[in-house]
């Protein structure tokens, strides 16, 4: 396959002629930019790329991409995208969704697309609020959140999107945020290149209904101390001088420590390829609030056969075993008799 032609495209080839209509200052703009900057690097063609979304602010995304696209039904994007990807394994299929879309009304479809390992790149814009419907709490909103639908504070325990994905044994799980285009691009590229279901949570700021939700972690002044960059094969450490790290205690709990106290050798070495998702799960749950050190990057990336590929293989096997379908023989397959 040395003569495969890699399509050469530019960012503008991926931009549709539609006016982008998110609120000024919305984090979605940065994510759209990152994706549009990335596409030429992927060596794929717009006509072979499909963006499927559900309903919500983030789900307007397909309109802005000059690819095939569908703005579908609230929560159903993973199911509809499964149909596209299984019917056509030759396509690059992306799902753009939000915290309400993917984790509330569409929770079932999300976990099943992940467990089946359908070849999809799922981008979940997590802004921890319902934006399109103007400010109700979402399944990722923190307990106690006061919104229009929770005037006395939310009593719902929130989902941790990565823990949900890991619980469904997703084969690729990562986190990034809307303020760092380079980081987004590298995570999106790895997610795209991964065969099977890739799940990326993007911390996205909704400056209208939930401004600065992630500021204490991803804000310029906090990043160094609160963002933990996961690098496969490297000890997990962070801080301006790399002075903090993560260790596993004898009780199996992950803890944040000072490297100077425990020594570098005691630090946990990140292994994204571990078959067991347990450690990735523990990392996903390292931070329990919105102002503690929080890991970013690729939590898990393992090889597992992708669903559409397996469906295609069964279709091929059946063809080899039984020969191509013949309608006349099918109609006779239960035995016949002749009336003369």
């Amino acid at each position: 396959m040395s003569d495969v032609i890699v399509p050469i495209t530019q960012k503008k080839d991926w931009m549709s002629d539609q006016e982008v209509r998110w609120c000024p200052g919305c984090g979605d703009y940065g994510i759209l930019q990152a994706v549009q900057f990335l596409m030429p690097e992927l060596g794929v063609a717009p006509e072979n790329t499909v963006f499927i979304s559900g309903i919500g602010c983030s789900s307007r995304f397909p309109y802005y991409m000059n690819t095939y696209g569908m703005h579908s039904i609230h929560g159903r994007a993973p199911a509809i995208a499964t149909g596209v990807a299984v019917a056509r394994p030759d396509l690059d299929v992306w799902v753009v969704t939000g915290d309400g879309d993917a984790l509330s009304i569409g929770g079932n479809h999300l976990i099943h697309a992940l467990r089946r390992n359908v070849n999809l790149t799922i981008l979940l814009f997590n802004n921890r609020i319902y934006g399109l419907t103007k400010g109700q709490y979402s399944p990722t909103s923190e307990e106690g959140k006061v919104t229009k639908s929770t005037p006395m504070g939310s009593i719902d325990h929130p989902f941790n999107p990565l823990a949900v994905a890991l619980g469904a044994e997703a084969s690729f799980v990562a986190r990034t945020h809307d303020l760092d285009r380079k980081h987004m691009m590298s995570v999106f590229k790895a997610a795209h290149d991964h065969k099977g279901a890739s799940f990326v949570e993007i911390y996205q700021n909704c400056n209208v209904f939930n401004d600065a939700a992630f500021d204490e972690v991803t804000g310029k002044h906090h990043r160094a101390e609160r963002m933990i960059d996961l690098v496969h094969g490297q000890p997990i450490r962070f801080g301006a001088e790399g002075q903090h790290g993560v260790v596993m205690g004898t009780d199996g709990q992950l803890r944040i420590v000072d490297v100077a106290e425990v020594g570098e050798d005691a630090l946990l070495v990140h292994d994204a390829h571990r078959a067991d998702p347990g450690l990735a799960f523990a990392l996903a749950r390292l931070s329990h609030d919105d102002h503690s050190p929080t890991p970013f990057g690729i939590f898990r990336s393992i090889d597992r056969p992708d669903y559409g590929g397996q469906v295609a293989a069964q279709v091929m096997q059946a063809g080899e075993k039984k020969g191509p379908g013949n309608l006349a023989s099918l109609l006779r397959s239960n035995g016949t008799w002749t009336v003369g």
Partner: protein
């Protein structure tokens, strides 16, 4: 019959009909259990029937005694005595039953059942309790090659055929539900036809997957029954808006909710017609016999593909599990239902540049172009938000929405010109016409034949397309004094034709989870005419 069966089913027997009872089962205790305070065999209440009393229990005991079967165990073989008796009565060959018993049972139970069966047969021959055996002549079948087919298998094969005739892979998204699951099972066996089947996490996903596959260029199908139709309503409405080919197959059962999952009913016509949000009309095709499920599946696919619309195909539990001899069609005579994908831009701007407009319609069918992912230059976005006529961009303009609602309705309405006109069976000059649809076909057929044989004129129209209705239907119905609409629901089609044509159609309804009997329909005809 025993007393309980007599009580439950006597109303189904015609006057002067043959009534065979197991006289051993009419002891005081049995009568009391069935709720009789006296013995109906002796009070004259059965005088209008031809009553034959046979001590089946004791005869079976005697027949099996030499084998060493205890009296109590012989009870269990008495149904075979009855089967042997009926086999004689209707001159049926015994060999198939004997070999079935031999393959099905073992040891003493096998011997006991065989002895009871033969004893029953011989009893008929020697007892002189009956005047003569009946002979049911083999049905008059047109020459050809036949197979026995059930509705669900025929429907599954029809979908396979539709894929072949459309030159498209079939993609089935489905969630197990009675009585539709057998279609999923059957289609799963035929991957060598390029069929892909996916057992989804729920009904909603099953519909979504089929719609996604349709967007990607497959023949997208989802199969279900009543409650599943409700769950698929959302995706079906999107399919109306996206204007993509999409097949929703509903094997109706008794409802609402879980209702009577294993019993038949045809009460989903309303949800098929109206069960979506917004103005969302779609074509509806209904199968009328097990074998007809094959043709109905091809026809539903033809309409979906040609008009880029979701289509609902209605069958029911009675057709799904019922079977009949089917004269096999020659695949070469089946219609070509393929439609071309759009591969070229279709609009030229004033400045000479070319564009692809996903909602630029065919002037005749009003179908929009179907351009699938992978086609260079035709990238476009579709969605549930209202689209601008032609160009397909999001549009909230009042006039445009009105125009699109009307266009989508007009597209479905025009299908009336592309389906066969309604035809009359029986007497066109009769006073009464029966208007049927779906599985009532067999009962109406028998009722019409018997009424006409008895010298009464009657006409019959059976619909295979319920939306749009055949263009000539109103005119036909208006030419009769009485219009009767037999349906296994509370009169759903009846209300549609009354509203559509202002004819004084009368419903004949049944909602017992059972099909009509021809006697019930015959009675309805006579009552209308008297």
């Amino acid at each position: 019959m025993n007393p309980a069966a007599l009580k439950a089913d006597l109303h189904r027997l015609e006057q002067n009909g043959l009534l065979i009872v197991n006289s051993d089962a009419f002891e005081a205790r049995d009568l009391e259990k069935a709720g009789y305070d006296h013995n109906p065999l002796h009070d004259g209440s059965l005088d209008t029937y031809r009553l034959v009393e046979i001590p089946m229990t004791s005869l079976t005991q005697k027949a099996t005694e030499p084998l060493g079967v205890k009296a109590r165990d012989a009870e269990r073989s008495k149904n075979f005595f009855a089967l042997g008796l009926v086999s004689w009565l209707y001159s049926r060959p015994v060999e198939p039953t004997i070999s079935w018993i031999e393959s099905r049972f073992k040891d003493l139970i096998k011997e006991s059942n065989l002895a009871a069966f033969k004893a029953g047969f011989n009893f008929g021959e020697t007892s002189e309790l009956f005047d003569h055996p009946y002979e049911v002549k083999p049905a008059e079948l047109t020459p050809g090659e036949y197979t026995n087919i059930s509705g669900n298998v025929a429907l599954a094969w029809g979908l396979v055929a539709a894929g072949q005739l459309a030159k498209l892979p079939v993609f089935l998204g489905s969630y197990p539900i009675t009585p539709a699951s057998d279609i999923l099972h059957e289609l799963s066996k035929h991957k060598n036809f390029g069929v892909r089947t996916l057992q989804a996490e729920d009904e909603i996903a099953a519909a979504g997957m089929a719609l996604g596959a349709a967007f990607a260029g497959h023949l997208g199908v989802t199969t279900t029954s009543g409650p599943g139709v409700a769950l698929k309503s959302e995706a079906t409405s999107l399919a109306v808006s996206l204007e993509l080919p999409f097949l929703l197959v509903d094997i109706q059962r008794g409802g609402p909710s879980t209702g009577l999952p294993t019993k038949t009913e045809a009460a989903d016509l309303n949800i098929a017609m109206y069960g979506r949000h917004g103005e969302a009309p779609l074509p509806i095709v209904a199968a009328y016999s097990p074998a007809n499920c094959f043709d109905a599946a091809i026809e539903a696919a033809r309409i979906a593909l040609k008009y880029r619309t979701p289509v609902i195909l209605l069958s029911d539990g009675y057709l799904a599990n019922g079977s009949e001899p089917w004269c096999l069609p020659d695949p070469a005579t089946l219609p070509d239902i393929s439609v071309p994908f759009t591969t070229e831009k279709n609009h030229v701007n004033p400045d000479g540049t070319e564009e692809f407009w996903p909602y630029l319609r065919d002037p005749e069918t009003l179908a929009r172009p179907w351009a699938i992912p992978g086609t260079p230059g035709l990238m476009h976005r579709v969605g549930g938000i209202e689209k601008e006529d032609g160009r397909g961009d999001i549009s909230y303009t009042p006039d445009n929405h009105s125009k699109m609602v009307h266009l989508r309705a007009e597209k479905v309405a025009r299908i009336a010109n592309d389906i066969p006109p309604a035809t009359i069976t029986g007497d066109a000059d009769a006073d009464v016409v029966l208007l049927g649809w779906g599985s009532t076909w067999a009962a109406i057929d028998a009722a019409v034949q018997r009424t006409r044989r008895a010298g009464t004129k009657v006409a019959w129209i059976h619909l295979t397309h319920l939306n749009p209705l055949p263009a000539n239907l109103g005119e036909l119905l208006r030419s009769f004094r009485h219009v009767l609409v037999p349906e296994l629901n509370m009169g759903q089609l009846c209300r549609i034709v009354r509203a559509e044509y202002l004819v004084d159609a009368k419903p004949v309804t049944k909602v017992q989870g059972l099909p009509f009997t021809s006697a019930e329909l015959e009675a309805a005809i006579q009552e209308t005419l008297s």
